[in-house]
């Protein structure tokens, strides 16, 4: 089940990289967050870790439902372009994504025996981080950059869950708080953008 969810997490992120429509991008982000939340719930249930169960539930509520919804509302309110063509052509991105995956598996190889649990999960977390960075870099529009930033948070969350067996609850809550603050700041930035137009 964990393998399936991690695979799905990676697949949704890769699909988001090739998406050229804003709402579709938000949908893939939402699905990406949902798999992350479910993953935390599954691992939390297996380890009988109540903090991780709570984190998983908050992830689903906040990242899979609330944030994509708020971003959709904001994009409508400020009339953001719904066409978000990636800057890197699909044929090159198809080569780049596997290259990143292979590179991160190679990078994570020396630490494979040092982490608790499955080392492949760590490799996938690191590759997700790089793919999120790629999502931020390859788009000129603001909205996909925001989604890239949020996906990066997801990748770090995955790393925290898989490499350490869960970060302390205090840290998880702090990250959620910062995420909410990021949305407020993004709203303000967009608001100003509209005011200037």
């Amino acid at each position: 089940m964990v393998d399936f969810l991690i695979g799905l997490f990676l697949a949704t992120l890769i699909t988001a990289l090739f998406t050229s429509r804003l709402y579709r991008l938000l949908f893939w982000y939402s699905l990406n967050s949902l798999t992350l939340g479910l993953l935390a719930l599954v691992i939390g249930a297996r380890l009988d870790d109540r903090a991780m169960l709570l984190t998983g539930a908050v992830t689903i509520l906040l990242k899979a439902l609330a944030i994509p919804y708020v971003l959709k509302v904001l994009s409508r309110r400020f009339g953001l372009s719904r066409q978000t063509p990636p800057g890197i052509k699909t044929q090159y991105a198809i080569m780049l994504v596997p290259a990143i995956l292979v590179f991160t598996f190679y990078l994570a190889e020396p630490i494979s025996h040092m982490v608790q649990g499955n080392a492949n999960y760590v490799a996938i977390s690191i590759s997700s981080l790089f793919l999120s960075l790629l999502l931020m870099i390859e788009h000129r529009n603001v909205a996909p950059k925001i989604v890239g930033f949020l996906s990066m948070e997801n990748a770090l969350f995955l790393l925290g869950t898989t490499a350490t067996g869960g970060m302390p609850m205090l840290v998880e809550l702090g990250i959620f708080f910062d995420l909410l603050m990021a949305i407020v700041v993004i709203n303000l930035l967009l608001y100003r953008e509209e005011a200037e137009l």
């Binding site: 020396p110 603001v142 950059k145 990066m152 948070e153 770090l156 970060m167 990250i175």
Partner: protein
């Protein structure tokens, strides 16, 4: 209770920002001054002093950094009183600036006092996000672009720090459990970490994030452009509080990394800072406006602090750190007046001042300009002497003596380039150009005077004894 009093001034600032009364704004410098009371009390309490369990612990190092950042906070609050007289800003935007300044200050106070890697990161992230809006207060296209740039690159830097923290936590959790998040617990058990490679990888990634945040290679111009595009108090906050918060984390992480493998730590930081100073010195040579000049000089100083710290010159690093925390915000705040007759005019910037306030202003700014390039009796002169002595001492014990001495000589050459440029600019400011009249306000002179008193206080025997005790 102590924590509440420490956070009260920024909290008051946050609350006052919702009021439209001009009195609220005028009272803020007084409430900011009040932060010195709990900080002074903190100095007298036995250390380590637990402010919030083991999560927030005050020791000599972070109390010192907290004092520096509090004084910068006071100076910036004073300078903000006249921001709308130097730049075009709406009342609404100004109050919103105060709101985010309050959040920024809270975030960094938490980061500075944190004994917990997670809280350190949360505070830093909070400060980063609040800065984005402070940059955007300037309603120009350049500021808008730079606010997004800061949001994106800042987010990448902060993510690198969290990434590093997770790896460090993963490396230490087998022996420390959830306590692997605590700096003091990690420091005690540093030599027993079962996977040092994983720890070092985490440290390197976290340090890279911190370096990017401070504008080190390859992001030198990124920070300079952002500071150029935003209003001048943002740059003062960056150099005086944000960089102090980031550096506080670097001090803590590097102390642990030092026990894991000192050679790796030293060569990583040495190579990185040398590369940064190499690039920055040439950028300073070509700088054509005050903001970029001070910003790039700030990067050079932060690189020197990191270098002195890992070379074993902790006294030099802390003295340099204190001097930088006072000098750089003072210079950034003075740009409001210096640039009042044109952004890109060095020539004549120190001329045209009349009255006591004006004369005091140019005198203090002139002193700060010369003090920043370590002309004695600037604290930076002494810190660099001690710092280079520590580096040479370190080189003597190294297996690569000649390479180390060569690198130190290169560093001195680069610092000479910066010295030459600053002295040339000072001469241009004082002796060239037209003497155009400039308006200086009392609050600005008071802010500069506070920084000047702080600089003098750093050289007092009791202060130097305290700093030597921290190392």
């Amino acid at each position: 209770m102590m924590l509440f009093f420490l956070l009260l001034p920024p909290l008051l600032m946050f609350v006052a920002s919702f009021s439209r009364s001009p009195w609220a704004r005028r009272l803020l410098p007084i409430s900011s001054f009040a932060v010195l009371i709990p900080v002074a009390l903190l100095f007298r309490l036995p250390k380590p002093y637990e402010l919030w369990g083991r999560y927030l612990v005050a020791d000599d190092l972070n109390t010192y950094i907290l004092l520096l950042s509090s004084i910068v906070g006071i100076g910036v609050t004073l300078a903000l009183l006249t921001l709308d007289r130097h730049v075009k800003i709406s009342t609404k935007a100004l109050y919103r600036f105060y709101r985010f300044f309050g959040l920024f200050w809270i975030g960094l106070s938490l980061s500075i006092l944190a004994n917990h890697m997670g809280i350190y990161w949360i505070g830093l992230e909070m400060a980063t996000l609040s800065t984005v809006y402070m940059i955007k207060t300037n309603r120009s296209a350049a500021a808008h672009k730079e606010a997004w740039n800061y949001m994106i690159v800042g987010a990448i830097a902060i993510s690198l720090i969290l990434f590093g923290i997770i790896l460090i936590y993963a490396a230490s959790k087998p022996i420390l459990g959830e306590q692997a998040m605590l700096f003091d617990a990690l420091l005690i058990k540093a030599r027993e970490i079962p996977s040092p490679f994983l720890f070092e990888m985490g440290f390197a990634i976290a340090a890279l994030g911190m370096f990017v945040k401070m504008g080190f290679f390859p992001m030198n111009l990124w920070l300079a452009h952002i500071e150029r595009a935003s209003f001048y108090p943002v740059a003062a906050l960056f150099s005086g509080i944000l960089e102090s918060g980031v550096m506080a984390g670097f001090f803590r992480f590097s102390r642990i990394a030092e026990r894991v493998n000192y050679d790796h730590l030293f060569f990583f930081v040495f190579a990185y800072t040398l590369l940064t100073i190499f690039i920055v010195s040439f950028l300073i040579f070509r700088a054509k406006d005050f903001m970029r000049l001070f910003s790039l000089s700030g990067i050079e100083h932060m690189a020197l602090i990191a270098l002195f710290w890992v070379s074993g010159g902790s006294f030099a690093a802390l003295l340099h750190f204190g001097a930088h925390a006072f000098l750089k915000p003072a210079l950034f705040l003075s740009t409001g007046v210096l640039e009042s007759t044109g952004r890109y005019h060095f020539a004549g910037a120190l001329r045209g001042y009349t009255g006591l306030r004006g004369k005091l202003f140019w005198f203090l700014v002139g002193l700060f300009m010369l003090a920043i390039v370590s002309i004695p009796p600037s604290p930076m002169f002494f810190s660099e002497l001690y710092g280079f002595a520590a580096m040479i001492d370190d080189a003597k014990h190294s297996r690569h003596l000649l390479a180390m001495l060569g690198a130190i000589a290169l560093l001195l050459v680069l610092l000479s380039v910066i010295f030459y440029r600053f002295v040339a600019i000072y001469q241009s400011m004082k002796y060239e150009g037209e003497a155009e009249p400039k308006k200086v306000y009392s609050s600005e002179v008071l802010a500069l005077a506070i920084f000047a008193v702080g600089l003098v206080a750093l050289l007092l025997p009791s202060s130097t004894a305290f700093l030597k005790g921290i190392g």
